[in-house]
């Protein structure tokens, strides 16, 4: 039965015996939907079985044993007691903080390493460029002006060409 009230009653019956009022309401619901009766009875039978399952019989000295074990616990070191003054810290924060710190450190080291490699690479590039683009010696520039002027002659020297031919 897909009735919300029936469902609520069923869920309540899983945890505790229904009250007289609830039982009356259930009877009304089941009278209106007789096809749900078999399912209800099966559910109630299972609830009965589970409820009647025997509870575990705890040893008589259990409490004494537990208290003794708690009393034997070593006293917490001072730093642990001081840490307990900060209850908002999540449980197991020490390993988490250590892991986070390790990750940050390895990240910083990697970045540093990358930077160093990058700088070395740049230095090598600059060195090779400077080797290629080395300035010519001053002797090479001795006839520079003459050669430069040759490029600026606008009119062809026909006499010279004739002589050359």
């Amino acid at each position: 039965m897909q009735n919300a009230e029936y469902q609520k009653l069923k869920e309540a019956s899983w945890r505790r015996p229904l009250t007289a009022e609830e039982r009356a309401r259930l009877r009304e619901l089941l009278a209106a939907r007789p096809e749900a009766r078999a399912s209800w009875e099966e559910d109630a039978a299972l609830t009965g079985l589970l409820r009647r399952l025997p509870g575990a019989d705890v040893s008589t000295n259990f409490t004494a044993r537990v208290v003794q074990a708690a009393g034997r616990l070593p006293a917490k070191p001072a730093w642990r007691r001081r840490l307990e003054m900060f209850p908002w810290l999540p449980a197991g924060w020490v390993p988490r903080a250590a892991l986070a710190a390790a990750m940050v450190c390895s990240g910083m080291l990697s970045f540093h390493e990358y930077e160093a490699l990058h700088r070395a690479h740049e230095a090598r590039a600059v060195a090779s460029v400077s080797r290629l683009a080395a300035l010519p010696s001053m002797d090479w520039l001795e006839n520079f002006d003459t050669i430069n002027r040759l490029n600026k002659v606008k009119v062809a020297d026909d006499d010279l060409l004739t002589v050359l031919q």
Partner: protein, 208 residues
Amino acid sequence: MDPDAALMLRVKNGDLRAFEELVQKYKHPIVNVMYRMLHDLDEAEDLAQNVFVRVFQSAGRYEVSAKFSTWIFTIARHLCLNEIRRRGRHPAQSLESSQSEEEEQGARQYPDGKTPSPPQAFLHRELERKIQEALAELPEKQRLAIALCQEDELSYEEIARVLGCSLPATKSLIHRGRETLKGRLKPYLRSGAWEEAENETLPVKRCS
């Protein structure tokens, strides 16, 4: 303030008497849940002891805003599931399981005043064994949800918090677990054998 929370505040200050009161109050529900999950009373008690020791150790972290029952059952859930996983990794033959079933049943003791007649006792044992078997075959989470549902200390909302699920998911877990149980225990539900056992809730005793 929740009386358990008040006791926990005293435990926080190292008051063993308050701790003893808490153990006294919660030992049965915790051992019961452990027993439903592990089907070994000695192991259930050992784990329950660990739960209480954890409670004592972590008293400094306990926040009064959290309900104590939810908190302790959450610790119990963690330890229990860890134990089940450990067992899965290192399966070991229990010394007790080498006893024959008859020997084990014979060693169980029932209170004198309620000693059922032999056919009734047989019916009880048979029923109990079948239910335990059917429960043991459920997935861990469904089994735990059903075990917690049997405990009066927790509401559905609190069971959901212990399981770390939403309320609808928790109800669905219980519903699916119960449907599986109904399927497996159908012959017993139909025969009305469960009615025979009415008013006969006997505690499980350890084998001597």
